[in-house]
Symmetry: C2
Subunit: 362 residues, 2 copies
DNA sequence: TTGAAAGCGCTAACAA
DNA sequence: TTGTTAGCGCTTTCAA
């Protein structure tokens, strides 16, 4: 009895050649049918389509990528999806890129330092572009990619001394606005919960906040570090609220930490945010609008930022140089109930939300 | 004056041939250096590595995929990242797959029905496997992929009549447990907030919950549909709480909706969850453990489910047939403070969390 | 262990 | 408009 090898064949998908044979035309005709703007007669075209349908043919994008030097795949590196702000960013990028024919290859970085194993991985895939929305990624990685010819863009993260282009919110302006808002609200003892020292967003936000307070003669705010993590922010808030000179206003480097602060204040210290204590965040993560939080926060214009990032990438793909582009898009100070309101300056925006604008330039 | 075409050259990355030339050996030798288990002498190997380093060479994975018929890319389709349960799932898949050399290509489906444009997209990339963690995806898509030879697995979603394998939590058992828990806690007027009628998870959870209540002679629970959305759940909860026979216990098809219910009860009706009203969810999304929510919920064993899904996919890739595999992994009823406790049955699990187990089989 | 040669599935230049 | 041909960058026989 003969032994028959039964390794599952996983029959291969139909190729362009298969389709060509069945349709009785050349392989090129098949290719042209699937190439935007190529010249095929309707007759041939229909033959191809019919054959393709019976064979369930779909062009192999990897083979195409090999020759066109375009993979239609964009890499997105994020540092972790537990920060309530990022899922929305990922989703937006995914949806907007899908509209223009790109797919997202996801890289979740582990936040650790050291020689980046991500780099090797990233460059093995011939990504059309790379978005670094990860605070923990070394800007060395970004630079390497750029040098390797992959358009890179830093999102919500800036290294102004680098040639790697970036898109961010108006971190400084936003934080000054927050400071002005809190001052106008009559607060006097300020605190800032930072992310990482090295993170540009955290740093810029702190700078805007502190410098405004100093300029107003209110001195530097108290300070604690929450490492951008929920637990970190919990500890930071505790230490702040336990200090003899308890702050009456806490500004957090992002919503994720502000949400933690809110809960510590409420559940551990029995404080009522917006009355006993004001807490303000930065990002406007979707969850911050939930009834239970009603977090006052400076918003990142995610929709526009994502759109802009995609525009830049497409320009870069079209051959335009992007060196040194550092764009900042303005958000708004969304007034909800986690912080005490100033008597003036609160207006209803066209979309119906309450926002605060300073009467004088901050 | 001659016009010089200035289209940016984007110089191509080094190829294996470049490396071979520099190292003074053949292209095959280069390939072997990067192929697990190929035979290369240490001498050649080092030559290759040195040349590769100076040229910054990295194997082109698309070219490799073309010949090996393995892309090392797995597709992950999710219906939306706003459901607090999914970001963790995505992150886990990303991390666990990364450990075994796979990357995730993300597809965010738009929840709509109709002929799926996703299908065409999906099969153009020669994905090594596809995970459907989207409740809104037609099982027709799954079937098509399977027939196209792509290992597909449905995650948190089951079609028992289909050959497409699935991984899910013990939806029925879990829901019966929830029912038993609420009955033991002395509740009498039950309600269920469903997701979609067509969704298997929602359906199974409803079935488990209802059938237990009926069996105990307590009749069918009140019912509302929240479409798995936050706003939908808000409306559902309102209508339930406004009804003349206000329920004293609401079980929601997932945490996402339970979180909405919690807030409606608290902020709109001034009720204190866990005292005036019990609310229980299903999933154990990370956020459910937050101080502000403390949602009692039946957990999905995400870590094990993801690990199992990956195992199955790897088996399938190794040639094993997976037709008709429908695995269910048990979770636990995590007792927090959003629901009134029975007098018995609450125990501390080895990990320190409180869980409830029925004294008799449910 | 090594190199030559073939070919994965596709597109693009060229000629017809 | 169409087919022929070359080749994208790689792996994998096969012989040496």
């Amino acid at each position: 009895m003969t032994r028959i090898k039964t390794k599952k064949p996983r029959r291969r998908p139909a190729t362009a050649l298969d389709v060509a044979r069945l349709a009785g035309i050349s392989r090129s005709a098949v290719s042209r049918t699937y190439t935007e703007g190529a010249s095929v007669s309707p007759v041939t075209r229909n033959k191809v389509l019919a054959a393709a349908k019976t064979l369930k043919y779909r062009p192999n994008l990897f083979a195409r990528a090999l020759i066109t030097q375009r993979s239609n795949i964009v890499g997105l590196a994020v540092s972790g999806l537990d920060n309530q702000f990022y899922p929305e960013v990922v989703q937006r990028f995914s949806e907007e890129f899908a509209k223009v024919g790109y797919r997202l290859l996801l890289f979740v970085t582990h936040g650790s330092a050291g020689p980046d194993p991500l780099l090797d991985e990233l460059l093995k895939y011939r990504l059309d572009a790379l978005i670094l929305a990860s605070s923990s990624v070394s800007s060395g990685l970004a630079e390497s990619c750029r040098q390797a010819g992959v358009p890179v863009i830093m999102y919500n993260n800036v290294n102004p001394r680098s040639d790697v282009p970036s898109i961010a919110a108006t971190n400084r302006l936003g934080s000054r606005t927050v400071a002005a808002f809190l001052v106008a609200g009559g607060h006097r003892r300020f605190a800032y919960i930072a992310g990482f020292k090295a993170d540009s967003s955290s740093f810029e936000r702190e700078r805007g906040f502190s410098s405004y307070l100093v300029k107003q003669g209110l001195g530097l705010p108290a300070r604690a570090e929450g490492q951008f993590s929920f637990d970190g922010a919990i500890h930071a808030t505790r230490s702040l609220l336990k200090s003899p000179k308890r702050p009456d206003a806490i500004f957090c480097a992002n919503d994720h930490m502000a949400l933690a602060a809110l809960q510590v204040a409420r559940c551990e210290f029995g404080l009522s945010p917006g009355k006993d204590l004001s807490i303000v965040g930065f990002d406007n993560a979707p969850i911050s609008a939930w009834p239970n939080f009603q977090l006052t926060t400076y918003s990142q214009p995610t929709e526009r930022m994502v759109a802009r990032a995609i525009s830049l990438i497409r320009e870069s793909l079209a051959g335009k140089a992007l060196r040194g582009v550092h764009e900042e898009l303005p958000g708004e100070l969304l007034v909800r109930s986690s912080a005490r309101l100033p008597t003036t300056g609160v207006v209803r925006s066209p979309t119906g939300t309450l926002i605060w604008t300073p009467k004088t330039r901050v």
